[in-house]
Amino acid sequence: MTSVLHTRDGRKFYFAPKNEAPRLEAEEFEGLGYEPVLYPWYENDCVSAAQKIVGGVEIGCDIAEPGFVTVHLGALRASLTAAEIDRYRWLGKKTASITSDVLQELEPGVTEYDMEALVADGLLCEGIMPSVLLMAVDDRIMTYKHAVARGQALKRYGMLNLCSRKWGLAISITRFVHFGALPAELSARFASSARVNAALLDSSRAGKTSAELFKVAQSGYAAEGFPGEEEFHHQGGPTGYGEREWLATPAGKEVIVNNQAFAWNPSIRGGKVEDTVVLLDGKIESLTDTPNLPLVETEWNGTTYHSAGVLVRD
């Protein structure tokens, strides 16, 4: 849509094609103190325009551009402000509520495409963008970690796995429904995933590194009798303005900060836990509680952590 330029002396500009100017001025930048820099739609050279505005000084850019210093804003964005956390609470609550409502309405015969449409409809009606939709049923949940919808009809086991976005912020959540008694083996995998999740949440504290968090997941799977499970899928990590800002990896050097949000997603062969939380003053606050759905409580280091269970229906 546009690019923006900020100068050290406090000036702010946005760059946009002229045909977008009326809406941008009225709906996106009004009252924010930005000066518009407009160009014909067939020209798109904000780089030259930025250099012209600031003259011969060093300019940073968040993508690699010749003549610019490449800068990374991930660390700047990591610690959420109070306003961002308020927005995140709203977005998480709405997304979780819509996910819960759709899950409870599913019936055998509904297709993966239907499941995507139902969730997307609920989100879009609230002005929330569905940014990731990975709905799946039955054997496809067992077979694939990212089971992109292919239209298969639900028989017994359904998964709503999605990300939503508003105001730039991203929420991740996964919930499951099973028609008929949940097989004991699958139930045990959810319990194990919940314990790995609790360990990850308990370790999500300021100063911990990506590599340390990876080790927590790795050790957790081994303790649950699933050594090496971490090889089959990423475990998640901090979130915010990306569905994941970074992933926990064996040699990852990124460091957790206070007021950072996380979406861990431990999974074990068809059983999975995924919610969005925020670390606030040393404590974990869930942003995606679904009070009408089953909950798995896990004690870890003296703290009770919650993970979503499977909604079992007749």
Binding site: R8, L32, A50, Y241
Partner: protein
Amino acid sequence: MSRTLEQGIVSAEALHAEAEEKRARLDRLFDENDISAVLLRRSENIAWRRAARSRPAS
């Protein structure tokens, strides 16, 4: 963001504090990289800096 919605979710004080905090963080970016300006082209960075400030059609 809808002004009405924004008013219901985020206080004016929090919005002001957010703007100040993000300005300070950009100042640190200028210092750390020895730059005098920054061009933001990635949507996540623009969204972060604009702090969700948009309004619906009237």
